[in-house]
Structures are given as C-alpha cells and as structure tokens.
Amino acid sequence: MQQTIKIAPSQQVHPLEHRPGVQKRRWRKNRLELIALPAGIVLLISLWALIAKVGDYPTFILPDPLSVFNKLVEITFDGTLWHHTQTTLVEIVGGLALGLSTATILGYLLAKSPLLERLTGPYIVASQSVPAVAIAPLLVIWFGSGQISKILICALVVFFPILVNTIVGIRSVDKGLKTLMRSLQANRWQTFIMLEVPAAMPVLLGGLKIGVTLSVIGAVVGEFVGADRGLGYLISLSKGLFNTPMMFAALIALAAISLSLYLIVTGLERWLLAWRQ
C-alpha cells in the first residue's frame, strides 16, 4: 500500500503550452492584432481624406492627407523632423528614466518603512495638489529653455503615479511568501530579487504604462512654455506660421513616439509577465 502514488496515463494532463490547440489559438490572436492596426490606420486616413474633400476647407484649417504626406516627406529629407523628434525623444526618455528611478527607489523605501511614509507622506500628497505641468514655467525660468527643464518636467509628471504603484506593489507582496523566504533563510537581497521584484512587477509595469504617456505630455507642455527645438516647439511654430500641414506632421511624429513607447512597454509586459497568460 505504501508506494508512491502514480498518476494513471488516462489522468495525465499535459502542461498548457504543449497542447497544440492553445498555440494555434495564440497565433491566430497575434495575426488578428497584426492586421487590425494597419487596417485601422488606413480607415482613419480614408475618412480624413473624405472629410477634407467633401468640406473643401482651406489648407490651414484642414489639410488633406496628401499635402501632409508631402510636408512629412519634405521635412524628413531636409532633416528638420528628425532634429525635433530626437530632441523630444531625449526629453521623454530622459525624464522617464529620472522619474522612474527616483520614484521606484523612494517608493520602495516608503513601502518598507511606515515611519518614513508618515514623515514624508503629507508633503508628497500636498505637492500633488499642484499639477506638475503648472510648474513648467517656473522650471523653464530656473533651468533655461534647453532640454534640462523639459527632462525635469517629464520626471515630475511621471513621478507620482509610479511612486504610488511601487508602494502598492511592494506592500501587496504575499505574506505567506514572505514567511517562506524567511524560513528558507533568504537574505535581504535574495528576498528583494526573488520575491519583491517579481511580485510587484505587474503593478510596476502598470505604472510605467501610465508614466510613458504622461512623459510625452510633459515634454510637449514644456516645449510650449519655452523652447527652441522639439516637436512641441515645431507645433507652436507651425501655429504662428499658419502652416497646418507641418503641425500635422509634428503631431504624427508625436503619435509615433507615443505608440512606439507604448508598444515597448506592452512587449516588456508580455515578456516579463509571460507566466500570467
């Protein structure tokens, strides 16, 4: 009677990944996504062309897709577009990196130390009563109209949501797993790397997703306030010149940046949270 209990062949279940049906379904879902995005874009552009044609608006009100496309080609080849895109991209990514690193480090410390949280909590909450973008003019006065002030604005905008998500993520680590790590004599570093980071990862990536979008907004607002290059600057320049096709080209570049960043985070999510699918 005391043998290892063997699972009868009929009861054997293959792990999910190995079942052919599942992979096929997953692939079909991916294929759908691949088709849906370009199809949506084509539809949108057709609609736009239709409205421009039917309404017959002056170009500075609503340019048709072709004139925007021509403008886009023109400023792509003379280097203007890349010059401004690169500027804004550096601000977005730099601000994101700065905000992300400070917010996660402070968030981790706050999550681990209720005392620290009680001491600094009121200031952090109070600082949120002023929208971060409202401080943009001040930062431009202090740090000039270069990229530094924009990076700081982006960092400030992404800071709070990522801070909150980090605290929530670290606090929500399962108590049973903490006890387990203790019973296995894991040291602080091991507990951090093997438990806290992966456990908080879903919430952290959620924060990053919000942060990416906010960072784009921060950079554009910063450039509106005062700058001599960047896509936000290009937009306000186009407004002054009534060059609406150029404004559209800048908007398209901004959308492309947002979309790429979003896709990067989504990809990161898919890769890091593969165990949840």
Partner: protein, 252 residues
C-alpha cells in the same frame, strides 16, 4: 540510547497586542526522537501554528527554548523544512523553479539544483509538470509541489501545518499516504499539526493534544499500531478506540 533530535523546554509565547499581552503557549515541554512521527491536535486558536513556528525557528519564544540536537534554535535551520497550510508557490516560477528555490537561495549551482529538483518531483509524481506554472495545477498538485520544495534540501525534520486541510477527503487521504511513504523512505522526523483525529491516528507514532489557549499539553498518546499501516486499519476497533480517547481529551 538515542538522544532526542528536538527538545522543547518551558516554551512560552505571549503576543503583544493592542489589547494587551496575549499568552498563547504556556510553558510546554516535550521531546521528539529521530524518526518519530508526531501529530499535534487541539482546538482552533489554541496556539498550534504558533508552536510549530517556534519549532521551525520562525518565531522567537518569549521564554524557554527549542533545542535542535542539543543546540538552541535562533533562526530557521537548514535541517528543518516547513510545509504551510497554503502551498505558497511563486506564480511566476515554473514548478521546477519553485521546487529548487531553497537550493537557489543556498547558492547551489543551477544544474545541480535542477537535477535534485527533478528527482524530488519524480518522488511526488509530478515530473511531467516541471515546466508548468502553478496556475495550471490543481490544489492537491500545488500542495505536492510544496512538499517537494520542503524535501529538496534534504531536511531531517519536516514540520507540517495542516498541509492538506483545504483539500477534499480523497485527495487528502492520498497525500497522507504519500507523506507517510516519504517519511519512511527519506528517514524523516515529522511533526504535523492537524484538525483531523483520524488523520493523526493513521499517521503518527505519537499524538499530542493541546489544551485551549493558552496551550499546554493536555495529553500525550502513544499510537501502537502496526507499521506500515495496513489497508483498512481505520475500520479496526483498536483504531476507533484510540480516536475516541483522543477526541475525549480535546476540550473546546
């Protein structure tokens, strides 16, 4: 003369709570011999988990000490493994990576850890699921993984806190038989908390009955039933008589 592997000396635990001090374990003494299978039963809230956590070095006693081979416990030692009431698996790790977690923490090289993990998984009949994730397992399989993880570092003492309490009766019976098998083949000393008197009599050499909080040892039963336990022993008269005695000793 063999000396005890675990000695509990005037063990006392009082929790500091918002409503004052709560005495949970009150001056408990007993010892466990190597290879013994001890079950601890007692009413809910009597302090069984508290006692077991002190035996595992997870909780510092207010007074008294737990001696492992004569040495007082200060931290969870490698010789003692714990199986909790919940499986406590990391959902982002595969079954194999969950099982080898203790080895990874000890810094055992990856390949060696994986080989050991595979061997243990075979022992609990889960080799096929090495690369599965916990969400793909049933409750019984999850708890088996937890048992495998507890065994991977080849402990001398296995502490089990109502490990199968959340499972259905059939699965529970099967897993109890597996535990018994592992206990015998791996030459373990086992201490298991349970609510189930039948389970205690079936598994144990000795059953300790705790009083309601604060816990003291109300009774200590020697279970002199043949080993390995024959099929259908639950229906023998001697089994029923022991179970009845134990039931009488539990006050609620």
């Amino acid at each position: 003369m063999v000396s005890p592997i675990l000695q509990v000396k005037s063990l006392t635990k009082a929790y500091e709570t918002t409503y004052g001090e709560l005495l949970v374990v009150d001056n408990i003494n007993f010892s466990v011999m190597p290879g013994e299978f001890v079950c601890i039963v007692g009413p809910s809230g009597s302090g069984k988990t508290t006692l077991l956590q002190m035996l595992g070095g997870l909780l510092t006693p207010t007074e008294g000490a737990v001696l492992l081979a004569g040495q007082p416990l200060v931290a969870p030692p490698q010789e003692i493994s714990m199986v909790f009431q919940k499986p406590n698996l990391m959902p982002w790790r595969t079954v194999l990576d969950n099982v080898t977690l203790p080895l990874q923490i000890q810094g055992v090289p990856r390949q060696e850890a994986n080989e050991k993990g595979q061997r243990i998984l075979q022992l609990v009949g889960l080799s096929e699921f090495a690369q599965a994730h916990p969400r793909e397992l049933s409750g019984g399989m999850e708890q088996r993984v937890a048992v495998a993880r507890a065994l991977v570092q080849q402990p001398r003492i296995l502490l089990l806190d109502e490990p199968f309490g959340a499972l259905d009766a059939l699965t529970r019976e099967r897993l109890n038989r597996e535990i018994l098998h592992l206990w015998r083949t791996q030459k373990l000393t086992a201490i298991m908390v349970t609510h189930n008197i039948h389970e205690a009599v079936l598994l144990a050499d000795r059953v300790l009955v705790l009083s309601p909080r604060p816990a003291v040892i109300a009774a200590d039963f020697q279970i002199d039933l043949p080993r390995p336990r024959p099929q259908g022993i639950e229906y023998r008269e001697s089994f029923g008589a022991l179970a009845y005695q134990i039931r009488q000793a539990i006050r609620e």
